[in-house]
């Protein structure tokens, strides 16, 4: 068995042969790498660890399953809570009111009738306090843009 051990140049036995003890004094060396005895010992160890291997794999699967179920039990109430929060948000928060009314040509015409041709009254009817001169100018500009086909604005008609 001892003869199978290669004490070649990479071994420290060779580099310090004078220092080394006589080989026959040494305890019996293990068989070298690749010896069939290592195959049989490996096989024996694999058989011996098999129950432990199975137990570990089973334990890992159980841990994974319990982790998922724990996550599920935590996620369900969390999801319900989130849904309730979103619903509450819709109930409590109203959409912001627009700062100023958007005027259309039709609105303008109807308001004009109501205001009896008075631009200040017209703007007042729309909730906008207006200077009489500026109100008139604004109204004329708007009328000119909104109805280019009609060259006569109500204010012009009034002037005539």
């Amino acid at each position: 068995m001892n003869d199978e051990i290669d004490h070649g140049p990479e071994s420290d036995m060779g580099s310090a042969a004078a220092d080394a003890l006589p080989r026959e004094w040494m305890p019996e060396a293990a068989p070298p790498d690749g010896h069939p005895t290592w195959d049989s010992r490996t096989a024996r160890i694999m058989v011996a660890v098999e129950p432990e291997w199975a137990r570990l794999r089973l334990g890992a699967r159980e841990r994974a399953a319990s982790w998922l179920s724990e996550m599920g039990s935590w996620l369900r109430p969390a999801a319900a809570l989130a849904a309730a929060a979103v619903a509450l948000l819709f109930l409590v928060v109203e959409p912001p009111a627009s700062a100023a009314p958007i005027l259309t040509t039709d609105d303008m015409a109807l308001s004009l009738i109501v205001s009896d041709g008075d631009p200040v009254a017209l703007w007042a009817a729309l909730g906008v306090p207006a200077d009489p001169v500026l109100a008139l100018l604004t109204f004329e500009d708007h009328g000119a843009m909104a109805a280019p086909a009609s060259p006569t604005t109500p204010s012009e008609e009034g002037i005539r």
């Binding site: 420290d12 036995m13 310090a16 003890l21 026959e24 060396a29 290592w38 432990e52 291997w53």
Partner: protein, 190 residues
């Protein structure tokens, strides 16, 4: 380890994920060094076999706690040491066995050289048991099992220089303890 082969750490990581083949490859790769390590603690062959098997079993149990960023060999070596120590505690403690105090001159000359060599080996085994742990393991790996200092150092987590120093001190210590046998062996032509 040949080029292109998976590293120990890669294999250990695969064992952690449930790869049985990786486990077998690690066992195959380390069975000889593990045997050598536990043999540096235990004299009995059966105990060595049991301890080697136990080492892999415990390594498997602890594999989830192994950090693959750290070298695998010293981690396994520590387990092997602990297992061997436990075996020593559980069985007869070799290092505390009393050595026969009489020298070679006080005993009958050995009728047979082989018998005498066997006796010397037994004495070497006992002296080995008295060496400090790392010195003993380094001696076992390098001088007995013919491992290179670099490989022994990789397994023990030491530099090759430290391993060589351990081996050197072990040789000197053993030589000093067995000086009288050296003379006898010379007389017998051994």
């Amino acid at each position: 380890m040949a080029g292109g082969e998976d590293s120990d750490e890669t294999l250990a990581r695969r064992v952690q994920t449930g790869d049985r083949q990786a486990l077998e490859r690690l066992v195959r790769r380390y069975i000889r060094p593990v045997h050598a390590v536990v043999a540096s603690f235990l004299a009995d062959t059966t105990q060595v076999e049991d301890a080697a098997q136990d080492t892999f079993l415990r390594a498997l149990r602890a594999i989830d706690r192994y950090d693959p960023r750290r070298p695998f060999a010293p981690w396994l070596y520590q387990i092997a040491r602990n297992v061997a120590r436990n075996h020593i505690a559980a069985h007869a403690v070799r290092s505390t066995d009393p050595l026969p105090m009489e020298g070679p001159e006080a005993r009958e000359p050995a009728p047979d050289l082989a018998a005498e060599r066997a006796e010397i080996r037994e004495r070497v085994e006992k002296q080995l048991g008295r060496l400090p742990e790392q010195r003993r393991t380094a001696f076992r790996l390098v001088d007995v099992d013919g491992m290179a200092a670099e490989e022994a150092g990789r397994i023990m987590g030491l530099s090759p220089g430290t391993v060589r120093a351990h081996v050197h001190h072990a040789r000197r210590q053993l030589r000093d303890a067995l000086a009288e046998y050296a003379a006898v062996t010379k007389d017998h032509g051994g």
